[in-house]
């Protein structure tokens, strides 16, 4: 072994030990510091409620707004404030800054009775009622839809059923198939291994712990171990620490999913591949992807382990819209909405895309 190499190792050892002690000291100070970990700070107010659901309207940040409002449909899993995590990483704030009139559905926490709600209840009733409330409030014919994850799939289902009410459709990491080499979730949810009937029959609503473990198991080394190593490495960076804690808070504030809706979602979309094969039916009505002819933007995360691009692409390829754009962004499932890069490079562009297509006046009256 060369002596200079030994010297270098010794130097690194001393250097690292110093850094380690400093970080440990900082980590021990953390509980004593007033950390800013508030979430969802963009001002909004409730304009419609129905059972657990609340429809939020965000206060405009520009003098003029584009005529076509936007409804954000979040997943039934987790809380929607990930789209408004902090002022400098807020999808909602970015869209408001582009003059978009933003509404969001906060599904709330399903109660015991909600286990009997079907996917059709969510699509044809709740989303439709929210959309009707916006149409009435804003006096418009059409509304744009932006759906994230399961909310993206629900937006697709809604748009296929009520195409005349949707001006533009934007989907973010929306799963439409898990049957074509789509990674671990696709394999684990195979009907041969996963009995969703038994899960729902036993628990009613799907427990948040079950969902949480399933998502973390998709990449346990990075999610359960490396994530915390990275936290320790950056413990002296206050901005990093606060951002980390906000994401942790979001991860720990998950909500259970209404049992019957979850069961239907897994069986028809994950296990039978009915949506990707364009053979899905909902509440007795056919979901026809060919009806999606409006401007559509499909956003997928290149490093998304939960909803890899292959899980969404069949949708993008199947729709006949002549104004459709596929955006493959180098981020993971959550990174799409909260990473620094997404906020500096992706969301301003999406805001511009939407603003351009929210111009046409379609007022009912005058």
């Amino acid at each position: 072994m060369k002596p200079e190499w030994l010297l270098a190792v010794q130097e690194e050892h001393l250097d690292y030990s110093q850094r380690f002690v400093k970080r440990m000291h900082q980590a021990l100070q953390l509980p004593l510091e007033p950390l800013q970990i508030e979430v969802g700070q963009t001002p909004s107010h409730v304009v419609y409620t129905e059972n657990q659901l609340q429809l939020l309207h965000y206060t405009p940040r520009t003098e003029q707004q584009h005529p076509v409002p936007l409804l954000i449909v979040y997943a039934l899993i987790n809380r929607p404030y990930i789209l408004d995590l902090q002022p400098d990483r807020s999808v909602i704030a970015t869209l408001l800054d582009r003059g978009v009139n933003v509404y969001l559905i906060d599904w709330g926490r399903p109660g015991e009775a909600d286990k009997f709600l079907t996917l059709n209840d969510y699509i044809s009733r709740y989303i439709d009622n929210c959309l009707e409330a916006i149409r009435e409030r804003e006096d418009v014919e059409q509304v744009s839809l932006l759906g994230y994850c399961m909310g993206g799939t629900m937006s697709i289902l809604y748009t296929a059923l009520y195409p005349d009410k949707v001006k533009n459709l934007l989907t973010m990491a929306a799963p439409v198939t898990y049957n074509r080499g789509t990674g671990l979730l696709g394999l684990w949810s195979d009907p041969y291994y996963f009995n969703v009937d038994k899960l729902v029959d036993t628990f009613g609503n799907v427990p948040v712990e079950f969902l949480d473990v399933s998502f973390r198991m998709v990449n346990p080394v990075l999610i359960l171990f490396d994530r915390y190593v990275q936290f320790f490495r950056n413990v002296e960076n206050r901005e990093f620490v606060e951002n980390f804690l906000r994401v942790e808070r979001w991860g720990n504030e998950g909500v259970p999913v209404a049992g019957e809706a979850f069961q239907e979602f897994i069986k028809t979309i994950f296990q039978s591949d009915e949506l990707a094969r364009n053979q899905m039916r909902l509440g007795g009505r056919r979901i026809d992807l060919k009806k999606i002819t409006m401007p559509t933007l499909t956003l997928v995360g290149l490093h998304d382990h939960l909803v890899p691009p292959q899980a969404t692409l069949p949708f993008h390829n199947a729709i006949p819209s002549t104004d459709k754009e596929l955006v493959v962004f180098p981020a993971g499932h959550i990174g799409l909405s909260i990473s620094k890069k997404a906020h500096s490079e992706l969301w301003p562009k999406i805001g511009t895309w939407l603003a351009k297509r929210s111009q046409s006046h379609n007022r009912n009256k005058g």
Binding site: A8, V9, E12, H13, Y16, N51, E112, A113, D114, K115, F116, L117, D121, R125, G183, L184, L187, W188, D190, Y192, Y193, F194, N195, K198, L199, D201, T202, F203, G204, M217, V218, N219, P220, V221, L222, F225, D226, V229, R233, H305
Partner: protein
């Protein structure tokens, strides 16, 4: 899973008693052991491949910092571990584990229900019946509200 074991789980879920409970406890331990073994196997498998995966390309000098070495290791390990889990064996083990745990939970639900019934208290099944009716009434109300709104609009249009 053998048929007799599956039968025992189903029997327990429908009508649990002390001996079934002990059998199910054993099944639970076995499911835990199997999951742990499969997990260990995935770990061993990925560790075996790790040396080759982290060997830097000949042209590149090895990283000298601890953090550089850690990064090299963790990325290779995460990739290999995910690959090791992406197998039918791992999926089957997880599926069987979940199945066993659900049978136990179902059995316990049933047992709790029997106790509540004996005490004259409403069981989960009783509540579910009410919930289901409540949701059905709620749906009907929603339909009627839509119809009334539609009619009101038609009347308004006629008047105009």
């Amino acid at each position: 899973m053998s048929r007799s074991k599956q039968g025992s789980q189903k029997q327990f879920a429908q009508n649990p008693n002390a001996s079934d409970l002990s059998q199910l406890f054993q099944r639970s331990l076995e499911a835990h052991r199997k999951l742990y073994e499969t997990w260990l196997e995935a770990t061993r498998d990925s560790l075996e491949k790790l040396q080759g995966a982290v060997a830097p390309a000949k042209a590149e000098p090895p990283p000298l910092s601890y953090e550089g070495l850690y990064d090299l290791w963790i990325n290779a390990y995460a990739k290999l571990f995910t690959e090791a889990m992406n197998t039918p064996l791992f999926a089957a083990t997880i599926g069987q584990y979940l199945d066993t745990m659900l049978e136990i939970k179902k059995g316990l639900n049933h047992s709790t229900g029997k106790t509540l019934k004996a005490l004259g208290l409403p069981t989960r099944g009783d509540l579910d019946e009410i919930y289901e009716r409540l949701i059905a009434i709620d749906r009907r109300l929603q339909e009627l509200t839509k119809q009334v709104k539609g009619l009101a609009q038609k009347i308004k249009n006629l008047r105009e």
